[in-house]
């Protein structure tokens, strides 16, 4: 029984509402995916400008363009925007929303109205975060970690910024919940867990972290707000509180939060590599299970952010050992990705190029994480720019480059048009060069002792700060090349076929851009997701 329906793409569909209301009141997971994309791209741009301002300020010792108080506000706001508004929602909200239902053969997520509400919550939280910049008390100056007791004492707008993070946390929890139910309930007939594509697998693991860990930070921030408003002594020792308690509660969420961002990133890479090698993924089960292993073990390593806080030797031992164990499943993924390239038929297009850069940057980010996880070397590099370089390699080099990879990979499906392939490769190369120039020198001066969150520094560190600024400028040029090319492609690019890269997963079986309800009839799954015969 084949229903005869006229094909209307989700972009052209006109429902109850017209124009912009047709978007912001839409419950279509694809439209919401694009709404997230635009919102997050805007936040990323703001965060990146703040980052560049910091690099300009640090270009010379002493005051360059702003005062210390302004600088402290800028690095706090850069952190809050990038962490809570860009990388945590990032991949799962944009590509998860758009492609999870398509990849498992569903018409939408399990709770479409909740999904729409989640986007609104993200926007509400973001408005609060941005408002905290303009209030009379001045931008928060605590760092994105809001460490007590400073955060209980400073006169700046800490309450509104933490409220923003609290609200944004709800968006994350609800997305996680929605995806878990979607994956359990809405898979196409015949699709078992172990013939589900690996991006949904990664989202599944990350969603559990979102659901279970986010409430901890939510409560912690409420405790901080209550402490400031009513003088309840949770964290401030003057009132009988414990400042270390705040760090524990904060990192119980904020370490797993790293996996909220990196697991979906690994998922994207796992989709891109088989497609551009035209080969089935090597070690399907190992990759799927390693996602769960990372999520599970990742809950018990938070203490490595606190080695120097005076915690007991036994605690340092325990957290260090588990930190090393959690490295193994990540290594397994890297080996499997590279093994998938063996005897493939490799087409070096932008998504794949970004994936290669991802692997390179992720190895650097991951292995410098081993240095930080080992207790003795950690003493030297803890709280220095070595840490700054390390987490930018993971978050930006990892999650960011995976995001760009996914964006170039699924772009033809999302917009039904193609970008310029050559320009896309050039964008990737410029970004890669700029990125390494920006962050690599920070490893070196970090080992020499340059502390992080420093407005001013000793002259021996200046050489690295100058190279970093040049890298930052090149990085910005790369963004403009990449974004310019994509925007032009979305407007004027050649019409894209349904399956431009010869992928095997379900999203490539529907037209580009997909129709409103994705599939005319439920697909029936009989084989592996990466079945190239």
């Amino acid at each position: 029984m084949r229903k005869e329906t006229k094909y209307v793409s989700y972009l052209d569909y006109e429902g109850q509402y017209k124009g912009i209301f047709g978007w912001i009141f839409s419950t279509d997971h694809k439209r919401l995916g694009l709404l997230y994309l635009y919102a997050i791209a805007l936040f990323f741009f703001v965060g990146a400008i703040l980052g560049l301002t910091m690099r300009v300020e640090l270009a010379t010792p002493g005051e360059t363009i702003m005062k210390a108080q302004a600088y402290n506000g800028v690095f706090t706001v850069h952190g809050v925007i990038m962490i809570f508004m860009v990388v945590i929602p990032g991949l799962s909200a944009v590509f998860g929303n758009f492609f999870l239902p398509l990849m498992i053969g569903a018409k939408d997520v399990a709770f479409p109205k909740l999904n729409r509400l989640t986007w609104w919550i993200l926007i509400a939280g973001s408005i609060l975060a941005i408002a905290s910049q303009f209030l009379r008390e001045g931008p928060p100056d605590t760092g994105w970690t809001f460490y007590a007791p400073y955060s209980t004492k400073t006169g700046t707008s800490v309450i509104i910024a933490t409220t923003a993070a609290f609200v944004l946390g709800f968006a994350s929890i609800l997305t996680g919940l929605n995806f878990i139910v979607t994956i359990h309930r809405l898979r196409a007939p015949g699709m078992k867990f172990f013939n589900m594509p690996l991006f949904p697998w990664a989202l599944y693991a990350a969603s559990w972290i979102q659901l279970l860990a986010t409430p901890v930070v939510g409560i912690t921030l409420v405790m901080l707000i209550f402490e400031r408003l009513f003088g309840i002594g949770f964290f401030n020792p003057d009132l009988g509180g414990d400042p270390i308690l705040f760090q524990h509660l904060f990192w119980i969420y904020s370490h797993p939060a790293v996996y909220i961002m990196i697991l979906p990133a690994m998922g994207v890479i796992t989709e891109v590599i088989p497609t551009f090698c035209q080969r089935r993924i090597y070690g399907y089960k190992a990759i799927a299970i390693s996602s769960l292993a990372i999520a599970a073990v990742g809950f018990f390593v938070w203490g490595h952010h606190m080695y120097t806080s005076g915690m007991s030797e036994q605690a340092r031992w325990f957290f260090s050992l588990l930190t090393f164990i959690v490295a193994v499943p990540s290594a397994i993924k890297v080996f499997n990705w590279i093994a998938t390239m063996y005897r493939g038929s490799i087409n070096l297009q932008a998504p794949f190029l970004y994936a290669l850069f991802f692997i390179f940057l992720f190895i650097i980010g991951g292995t410098t994480g081993l240095i930080l996880g080992a207790v003795a070397p950690n003493v030297q590099v803890h709280d220095t720019s070595f840490v700054v370089a390390h987490f930018h390699y993971i978050i930006f080099g990892g999650m960011g480059f995976a995001f760009f990879s996914g964006l170039h990979y699924w772009f033809p499906k999302m917009y039904g048009r193609m970008y310029n392939l050559k320009a896309a490769n050039w964008g990737a190369i410029i970004l890669f060069i700029g990125f390494n120039l920006l962050y690599f020198p920070q490893f070196i001066i970090g080992y020499q002792g340059m502390p992080r969150r420093y407005y001013d520094y000793l002259p021996q560190f200046q050489w690295a700060q100058t190279i970093s600024l040049i890298g930052g400028i090149i990085l910005f040029i790369g963004f403009f090349v990449m974004v310019g090319n994509l925007v032009r492609g979305a407007k004027k690019g050649a019409i894209a076929p349904a399956n431009p890269w010869n992928g095997t997963t379900l999203e490539w079986t529907v037209p580009s851009p997909p129709p409103v309800e994705n599939f005319d009839e439920d697909p029936i799954i009989k084989s592996d997701p990466y079945d190239y015969k």
């Binding site: 460490y147 399907y284 190992a286 692997i359 390179f360």
Partner: protein, 305 residues
């Protein structure tokens, strides 16, 4: 091959070098393999991909080898660290106090210094305390770093092995002048140290004043001093009875320094802002300074003429 600045340099640098070595090996091998595959199996040369089945022995190998390597790296990291928490009992005792945004070092006999001077080749144990917020105690050349946490005392120890001046940084963000919370560790021959410590002044008499203690605990002296010069905020010297120019709700006016002015400035710091100082830098201390402590503060400030 390792510097001898402290007894920990070798353990830390050795662990660091081994982990960097293993990491570089993997980075180069994996990147090289990746580039080789991309060139060798380019679709123009290799149009037909070979579908290769999973090999469980292969998988087992690349689970086992990394597992052994990470356990080894964990162990050498741990091994380099153990001595850092085993201070000898006869080590010289110094207390380091972190406060916004300076260090104070207390030697035996209630003597204080803002530079950490220590004799070479002698074990020093430093108790780390903070009076206000979190601070860090980091001497990169010695490979030591521990946090200074209010109420929860921490410590570090080391044996300096080279003469000279070494940078001491605050590594835990502590507010406005965090980047300027910097001092020097000066390692000198023992006889020179004994001479230096003999001439070290005793802690100033104000330190025993109950009002001073309250103010120190609340970090007041980070921004205000008692000598009449300007820091982040105005000095406490000579407030009582003096005519003070302030901005109240954007309007300039003059008032006479008295108890109520001191109280307003602590409970509602942004109400009357001293002429020439920015607003919104200080927050209210209503929750941390009660009325009794306020009396003590007022009595102390009265003594600063």
């Amino acid at each position: 091959m390792f510097s001898n600045a402290s007894n920990f340099v070798q353990g830390v640098d050795m662990a660091f070098a081994i982990i960097v070595g293993i990491s570089l090996f993997f980075l180069i091998t994996l990147t090289g393999t990746m580039i080789y595959f991309v060139v060798r199996y380019d679709h123009k040369k290799h149009p037909e991909a070979r579908q290769i089945k999973d090999n469980k022995w292969m998988e087992a190998t690349w689970i086992t080898i990394p597992l052994i390597l990470v356990l080894y790296m964990f162990y050498i990291g741990w091994e380099g660290f153990i001595p850092m928490r085993q201070a000898p009992k006869d080590a010289m005792q110094i207390t380091a106090i972190g406060k916004m945004w300076k260090y104070e070092f207390q030697y035996e006999g209630n003597k204080v210094s803002d530079t950490l001077v220590i004799p070479i080749n002698k074990a020093v144990k430093i108790s780390l305390k903070s009076v206000d917020v979190l601070h860090g105690f980091s001497v990169p050349s010695f490979r030591i770093k521990e946090d200074m946490v209010p109420v929860k005392d921490n410590y570090t120890w080391f044996i300096p092995g080279e003469l000279g001046d070494f940078d001491l940084f605050c590594t835990v963000y502590c507010g406005l002048n965090h980047a300027y919370m910097h001092s020097i560790v000066r390692v000198v021959p023992e006889d020179q140290f004994n001479e230096w410590v003999a001439y070290l002044p005793e802690k100033n008499a104000d330190a025993e004043n109950p009002g001073y203690k309250v103010m120190e605990k609340n970090g007041c002296f980070a921004c205000h001093n008692t000598t009449g010069t300007r820091l982040v905020g105005p000095s406490f010297k000579g407030i009582y009875g003096r005519k003070i120019k302030v901005m109240t709700d954007g309007v300039a006016r003059e008032l006479i320094g008295d108890d109520s002015y001191v109280e307003t400035s602590i409970y509602e710091p942004n109400k009357d802002i001293s002429d020439g100082y920015p607003a919104n830098i200080m927050q209210s201390y209503k929750n941390s300074i009660n009325k009794e402590d306020m009396k003590l503060i007022q009595e102390y400030i009265k003594t600063l003429k």
